[in-house]
Amino acid sequence: MEPERNTRRNLEFIPGVPHPVEDPPPSTNGVNMEFSEAKRLLSPYPLPL
């Protein structure tokens, strides 16, 4: 019988079962930040440059 595939909804470790890791969504915080926009850096959340 094929073992249940581990997913992010089922984070319990199952030995021998591939555990897919999804790429995180690209951060848009800071992308194309000209110096005039430096004030954005004062907020450390959610994931600053």
Binding site: G30, V31, N32, M33, E34, F35, A38, K39, L41, L42, S43, P44, P48, L49
Partner: protein
């Protein structure tokens, strides 16, 4: 963490370093102390070559001072830099005090950098060529430091000219160098920051 080419042609370099065991207060003290040649070598024993400070104020803020530095950026070329520090409020305005009050910021160091022994200057006499922002935040484990550089800022060059003047490799080297120097500093900053101010605040005793 990364390097990006901006529409203006400037290179934006962002570096995030976890300085375990350090605080924003220690970081701020380090810059205000005006690290001499020996301290500067501790800071990055491979890349840091020479250090001199001009107009260093007595109040420990470092604001208004100029660091005349000779340093390599993760390769063999020695760059002469003029790093002129200013009040972070110039950039962040009234939002700065609010961020400190929230605990989002525990240290801030901002500067204009000129590349070369005699870099171009603005009408106030400040060097131009790069903007620098170091922002630190205290956490239970140490200081999260976020350094941002805008290479090419203020230079009267087109996007194409800036791209030639500030190649991507330069940004990548700066990112690598910056991470390295904070990592080196992390290893000794708590010791020297505590010892240097032992008359103001009793040093902790291990046993």
């Amino acid at each position: 963490m990364g390097v990006e080419r901006l529409p203006s042609g400037q290179l934006h370099v962002a570096v995030r370093t976890y300085m375990l065991g350090c605080t924003g207060e220690m970081f701020q003290w380090w810059f205000g102390s005006g690290p001499d040649a020996r301290d500067y070598a501790w800071w990055h024993p491979v890349d840091h070559v020479g250090s001199e400070w001009l107009d260093l104020p007595d109040d420990g803020s470092g604001i208004g001072s100029t660091h005349v530095a000779d340093e390599k950026l993760a390769d063999d070329v020695v760059h002469s830099l003029k790093i002129r520090f200013h009040d972070p409020v110039e950039i962040f305005g009234e939002d700065f005090a609010a961020a400190k009050a929230r605990g989002d910021i525990s240290a801030a160091v901002t500067a204009d950098i000129g590349l070369g022994a005699e870099p171009p200057r603005d009408e106030r006499g400040r060097p131009i060529g790069c903007k620098l922002v170091h922002l630190g935040r205290d956490t239970p484990f140490g200081l999260v430091l976020r350094s941002n550089f805008w290479l090419g800022h203020g230079l009267p060059l087109s996007a194409e000219e800036l791209e030639k003047e500030m190649p991507m490799q330069m940004g990548l080297n700066l990112m690598k160098h910056s991470y390295q120097e904070w990592f080196y500093l992390m290893r000794f900053l708590p010791a020297v920051a505590i010892a240097d101010r032992r008359d103001e605040k009793p040093a902790p005793v291990a046993w």
